[in-house]
């Protein structure tokens, strides 16, 4: 019985999948396969494998069935009660259920991408060392230890042009060489998995889908730098990622891939997980180290840089999850190959979490240099509900908004900064004509103000003052000088804050003022929200000319405040209205103001 003949069933079990019932689907598959004696009747091996995130989380639960006759077929939105039928039709009768198959967009979504870092995610069982070894696992570290000097490894990474994927974009090889050059026998390695940006979840998906590649990436870095102890700082909000990574670390210790004299190669490396406790600022490297030491996660001034004096006062190298995930591919396939991907200044691929008002939300990995337009329209299918595109927010609370005019910006570090946004951790939140940009700026500011650690006055008090102004504007009490005040304060806060949080917190405001000043002016001068989004400025009435009499608002209203009959314009009864805005979102024609 050869491998090729085996029937494989791959079930997506990232956080997205599990919350949509992937566990139940898996149990149903196991149960029905046994009941129907698939093994006996078909006479071939049949495996149910749980995998990590496939990327297209909006369509979970995704199930791939691989049979010798049909090849790979993907079903989406699978529920436990359909499993029996799928087994009957697909595996026993060998006919693909065309109606239930994922629609063509699934293939477009997958084909338009280029998966390097995420090759393992969604394809292999994250809990199985064997599965990882079959995918050339631990080959890269073996190659390093057996055939390369530490300095050669660093040189290879330098040549590849890999830059830090956490947002800063500092060349990784250079960072390693700084830490390697620092005197001292005791050095530390940290993997930053404190992924706090709302709207970004690629690090979580890598940890959940392919935890061994992080272990290997850290081993390679440790070898290059000459350190023997590593921490992975994972935020506490990712229980599944912590569980899977801990499992991977335990197996590695058991099988001799971690600890003393790994596999007899004469190389030692120990690692452990440090669980965060819910503080966004701990994504900043010096704050993160304070947190590992058991203190409040407050940033420390640099210099001295962590490469000189970091964790417990020792030289420390700190990289992001996605950066470590890239490393083994560079060693395996060579720096030249890696450097051939991407653009002049940004090499390789980048994972983006595309969310918001886009048709297919999820994780996409594309070569650097693809334009934002291609990512949104070609890979993710464009804007949902046939609405008009307004802007895409890149880089989370530290980033900025990219309007339609500069949608052809390529996704690399420098082009995005030129466009007024930044790569950040790679969240792309798509906004359509119903999203108010002033409200978005207010949202980000309320987030950063809450997460400010309180150390620097400009950040602690300045952000609060800016937030007050923005709140006033969205409530219709803005004054014309407000815009200038915001710009001035933003510039000061950027200059006078110690860490990345304060230095970038005003960005969402500065970029929305730059591109959408007219919306600010409409709020301030006309006391009107052009996107019909700011509650205090709404009229709560249906515009007769725009209403197409579809009745969608009636269905959406939770308090029976809409009067509508077939063929008639809807009417909003103000006395009953609780101002929840459900109808605004339901109306596709912007007919409620």
């Amino acid at each position: 019985m050869s491998e090729n003949e085996a029937i494989k069933i791959l079930i997506c079990q990232g956080t997205g999948g599990i919350s949509m019932g992937a566990k139940e689907v898996e149990l149903a598959f196991i149960k029905h396969i046994e009941e129907k004696g698939v093994k006996a009747t078909v006479g071939k091996r049949c495996d149910v494998i749980k995998t990590g995130c496939r990327g297209l989380c909006a369509n979970d639960v995704l199930v791939d069935i691989i049979t010798p006759e049909q090849g790979r077929v993907t079903y989406d939105f699978v529920r436990a009660d359909e499993v029996e039928k799928i087994i009957d039709e697909h595996i026993i009768n060998q006919t693909v259920m065309e109606k239930r198959k994922a629609k063509p967009y699934y293939n477009t979504f997958v084909d338009q991408q280029m998966r390097v870092v995420m090759t393992g995610c969604g394809q292999i069982d994250p809990d199985s060392l064997q599965a990882y070894l079959e995918e050339d696992g631990f080959k890269a570290i073996e190659k390093c230890v057996k055939t390369m000097k530490p300095a050669e490894v660093t040189e290879e990474v330098k040549k590849s042009g890999l830059r830090g994927r956490g947002g800063g974009g500092f060349p990784t090889g250079l960072k390693w060489s700084f830490c390697a050059a620092s005197p001292g026998a005791k050095k530390y390695l940290i993997c930053n998995a404190d992924e706090g940006d709302p709207g970004a979840f690629m690090d979580r998906s890598i940890l959940e889908g392919d935890p061994f590649c992080i272990v290997e990436g850290m081993m390679i870095a440790a070898y290059a730098i000459g350190c023997y102890y590593g921490y992975v700082y994972v935020r506490a909000e990712y229980p599944l990622a912590i569980e899977r990574l801990q499992h991977a670390i335990d197996i590695c210790y058991e099988k001799g891939y971690l600890g003393k004299n790994i596999q007899g190669w004469g190389f030692d490396f120990d690692m452990r997980i440090k669980m965060g406790a819910g503080a966004f600022v701990c994504g900043e490297e010096t704050a993160l180290m304070a947190s590992i030491e058991g203190e409040r996660g407050m940033p420390r001034p640099r210099p001295p840089f962590p490469a000189v004096k970091g964790l417990w006062g020792k030289p420390t190298n700190i990289n992001n999850v996605e950066t470590f995930a890239n490393v083994r591919h560079i060693i395996n396939k060579g720096a030249e190959w890696y450097a051939s991907l991407g653009t002049e200044t940004t090499k390789g691929t980048k994972i983006f979490a595309v969310t918001g008002k886009v048709k297919h939300t999820g994780l996409v990995e594309v070569p650097a240099g693809m334009t934002v337009r291609e990512v949104i329209y070609n890979v993710c299918g464009g804007i949902a509900n046939n609405r008009k595109f307004k802007a895409v927010q890149a880089g989370g609370p530290s980033g900025g908004c990219i309007p339609a005019e500069v949608l052809d910006t390529p996704v690399d570090y420098d082009s995005l900064i030129k466009a007024g946004a930044m790569m950040g951790s790679g969240g792309l939140v798509v906004m359509d004509e119903t999203t108010c940009m002033v409200d978005v700026a207010r949202f980000f500011l309320s987030f950063t103000r809450m997460e400010s650690c309180g150390k620097c006055v400009p950040c602690r008090i300045g952000l609060k003052a800016m937030l007050d102004i923005l709140e006033r504007i969205t409530e219709g009490r803005g004054v014309p000088e407000d815009i200038e005040t915001l710009l001035e304060m933003g510039a000061t806060i950027k200059k006078a804050s110690l860490c990345g949080l304060g230095q970038t917190a005003p960005n969402p405001i500065l970029s929305t003022v730059k591109y959408f000043r007219n919306e600010y002016e409409a709020h301030i001068n006309d006391k009107r929200c052009p996107s019909n989004s700011c509650k205090e400025l709404l009229l709560w009435q249906v515009i007769e000319d725009k209403c197409v009499k579809c009745g969608a608002c009636l269905k959406a209203c939770p308090s029976n405040a809409i009067e509508w009959e077939k063929g008639k314009v809807a009417f909003l009864i103000k006395d009953k209205c609780t101002k929840c805005k459900s109808c605004y979102d339901a109306c596709r024609f912007m007919a409620i103001e």
Partner: protein, 171 residues
């Protein structure tokens, strides 16, 4: 951190609690460098919150000032100084959920439960929290009750969830 100011203004009631479990957790991490947070996380998992007597115990056994422990506890959003509800409702207010209408979900919960962010109902049935990104943006807006996830939330669904959990047993 102003994430959870409301619950930290009052001290937890100074009741007698069994410190054996806390001692066991401290034993486990005693020699680990930077052990304060793992110890506190362990205690919180054991007791559901960090009771006052355990703070004194940790201070004594790890040789750190209680004020320093209190500083850590109030800095991180994850730690709680008061008992929490049987059902913890978390509503995601991350960017993707925000643009898909999370604010009205939050407000509806506030209205129906009569409590605000990081507060607990007097009968200890519900604790409500706004959280930034649960990482399932494809299903925005998103709510969680303990470990169950509810995607594509609407105002109607809020009412359904509350009436469902109102009928569940407290233990």
């Amino acid at each position: 951190m102003s994430n959870a100011p409301a619950e930290q203004t009052e001290q937890a009631p100074a009741e007698e609690i069994d410190l054996a479990a806390a001692n066991k957790i401290i034993d486990k991490y005693l020699t680990l460098p930077g052990n304060l947070m793992p110890v506190l996380q362990g205690i919180q998992e054991e007791y559901g919150f960090v009771p006052k007597p355990t703070i004194d115990l940790v201070a004594e056994r790890l040789n750190v000032y209680p004020s320093q422990i209190f500083g850590v506890l109030t800095f991180y959003a994850q730690f709680h100084l008061k008992p929490r509800g049987r059902f913890i409702i978390r509503v995601c207010v991350g960017t993707a959920c925000h643009v898909q209408g999370a604010p009205r979900i939050v407000e509806t919960f506030f209205d129906k439960l009569g409590i605000g962010h990081a507060e607990t109902t007097p009968d200890l049935r519900y604790t409500f929290e706004k959280v930034a990104c649960l990482g399932a943006c494809g299903m925005a807006p998103l709510a969680m009750v303990n470990d169950s996830t509810y995607g594509s939330m609407t105002v109607q669904k809020v009412e359904e969830i509350i009436s469902d959990y109102n009928q569940r047993p407290m233990k």
